[in-house]
Assembly symmetry: C2
Homo-oligomer: 406 residues x 2
């Protein structure tokens, strides 16, 4: 963990992917993130993939490095404790990250009544407060009908939880922007970040809203062909796959030269009366004439032979790998400074990633382990809320809080 955000304290009451990933990103840049967890865990505490002991690798991954205080959130005393924690004093405190509902005991106005400069960052499904998750938001906005083989009629969902992840990273920059604003003006803020709004804004940012409104239609589904440019997956002689992309003019001429296709493509240009070199749209429009040439060239080579040729020719390409292959065989994980071994509550020790961004010249630090539920209950009650050991003992006796499970 880097120390850029050292001192910043974020209280997190969250589950699933988006909100926890926001906390994780900021934690890995140096913020202190204190999760309050329901005693026994929230709705995602046992989410697959699971370790043999029943704990969740997923939960461990998203909450590594965070502090956990376990509270009975069904009782008024527990809820009071969560609110007190979120609104605790300190110029770098008073930041609450959550996917709890807009109303209820963690509503922003209730927190702001305790601390006027409160910042709440709230991940939601839909802006109107109705339930939405990555899968239903994704269904609503068209990508499943654009993804997958062109002969498919059924929708194809993404497996990567893209809207959750994008919302989590967006929550992180929103939180830092709100905190910067508070430093300048003293004003708190409620920030709401619905997955549905992230998806709508994305379709605008990528030009797709303008595209369907001006064309009056959807673009066709086209498998792995890259829209508007040259690229697709190709099958190698040894039955493997490679993704080949030529977006820039240099990538295009490099590819033709590498495969010895310069003359054949020149003949095709003459036949069609077009020039491919400087217009990726032209390459896309005539891709059904170009693909067979590349297919034939790749089908006579193994994936390894292709790789050698591609690298020598400045071609933008990549082998397809499964997750297991990528983690155990591929070149990327092996030497990555992002990863370090860490031991987790699942009982497993495995390579664990710190932050994706690299801040050159700063110490990257350790990636950190996931907490046990309630591992930091006493530390937080004492250190943040200033409770005495007697008061802490009483909360345990009343089962308002719990320590780590043994």
């Amino acid at each position: 963990m880097y120390d850029l955000l050292k001192g910043l304290r974020i209280v997190e009451g969250s589950s699933f992917i988006a909100a926890p990933s926001c906390g994780l990103h900021l934690l890995q840049l140096g913020a202190e993130v204190i999760r309050f967890d329901n005693i026994g865990g929230g709705p995602d505490f046992r989410r697959w993939p699971l370790a043999p002991n029943g704990l969740s690798f997923y939960w461990e991954g998203l909450n590594k490095g965070k502090k956990s205080i376990a509270i009975d959130l069904t009782r008024p005393e527990g809820r009071e404790l969560a609110v007190t924690l979120a609104t605790a004093p300190g110029k770098d405190g008073g930041i609450f990250l959550t996917n709890f509902p807009v109303g209820g005991f963690l509503a922003h106005d209730k927190l702001a009544a305790r601390r006027a400069d409160m910042i709440s960052v709230r991940v939601m499904g839909w802006a109107d407060g109705t339930t939405g998750v990555d899968y239903t938001v994704n269904a609503a906005f068209g990508y499943p009908y654009l993804t997958g083989p062109s002969d498919q009629t059924a929708p194809v969902n993404h497996i990567m939880p893209s809207w959750d992840l994008l919302t989590g990273a967006s929550a992180a920059y929103s939180l830092l922007a709100a905190e910067r604003y508070r430093r300048e003006t003293g004003k708190g803020q409620e920030v709401r970040l619905p997955l549905g709004d992230v998806a709508m804004a994305t379709l605008s940012h990528l030009g797709q809203v303008a595209e369907v409104l001006t064309s009056g239609a959807d673009r066709p589904r086209m498998g792995n062909d890259i829209f508007g440019a040259f690229g697709r997956d190709f099958l190698t002689r040894d039955g493997k796959r490679v993704m080949v992309v030529a977006i820039t003019p240099r990538q295009w001429t490099g590819m033709l030269k590498g495969f010895g296709l310069t003359e054949k493509v020149a003949a095709l240009e003459a036949e069609l009366g077009v020039t491919f070199a400087k217009d990726e749209g032209i390459r896309f429009a005539h891709r059904h004439r170009l693909f067979p040439l590349i297919e034939a060239a790749i089908a006579t080579r193994t994936q390894a032979e292709c790789g050698k040729l591609f690298d020598e020719s400045d071609i933008c390409w990549g082998p397809y790998q499964s997750v297991h292959e990528a983690v155990t065989e591929g070149p990327h994980f092996k030497n990555s400074p992002l990863f370090a071994e860490a031991s987790h509550p699942s009982g497993h020790t495995y390579p664990t990633s710190g932050p994706a961004p690299s801040f050159l010249g700063l110490d990257r630090g350790a990636a950190g382990s996931a907490p046990k539920l309630g591992q930091h209950t006493d530390e937080v009650l004492s250190g943040v809320l200033g409770l005495s050991s007697g008061e802490i003992g009483k909360l345990h006796d009343q089962k308002v809080v719990a320590g780590p499970e043994k």
Copy 2:
């Protein structure tokens, strides 16, 4: 655009999705973002989807609201101008956002030699500087073999440029973290954000690195079934599709009640000796017994009938829509405060999105239009670099800079 980041000045030398989307996010929260564009446009200036006049909806979407200064970056005088702009004085300046190569005339050390507290945020393909784009990074890390129908053997690429988008939002929080650090310590920073590192960190955060290392294998491809929970797409009587998800216990019991399946599922539980209500993993493990019950219930209803029933029953669901349907018919775009009509260089006026995050109590402002190339050349040369009209005229005469195309 909000004004949270008012005064912050980011100079952007960027193309494609990741880096421009980072600039867009921060612009929409109030930063001033000045793009320098090669005269005639960078490699993505004509990227599809295109308007009939040949301008790119995609470029417009990612650069709306930014200022554009057009510079001949192939010449030393033009490069000097770009460096001078990136390193211009002012406490909220000296921030450069780019996907230009690590070395070359925009290398961080060259900028830092001009301005010691320089912040560079650099989006890359791979950490070692080799070329990688969303498509090849995606191929390397396994999702294409997990996505798509279970009877597929070929990889299925995502159509949403998920790694680019996630990297862009991650660059935005990294930039704000670096700027916060500079305010506290006076120190600049080079931040590097390779798509490949974002992907590797994501596989760790989601528990997938631990999963494949401890299991020794990949999880199988399973179409639209949600891994480890209950959910899939279902076909309605009128040939449409709905995504149905039951993750929480409440969603599960709501769904059974809504379909009148409580007794049938209880009988199935008795037969299998399991309880579905509190363990989404159990629902997943036995999904092939559960799915036919839901299939039958949905197949007798139209999509509209399903929707009414689902909403009444607290079921988490969503209709599948194409992009065109979502934008023109669905409920979400219609009333969204994110969108406002804006006129763009493509000659089209269309609903254009401001920021996805909502800061309650702050004025959302206008979404803004994309600039013409060089639209702000004179304004930036005069306002930021303090050049006289004579000096500016000379740069035009020498064709080092260009104004907006007429």
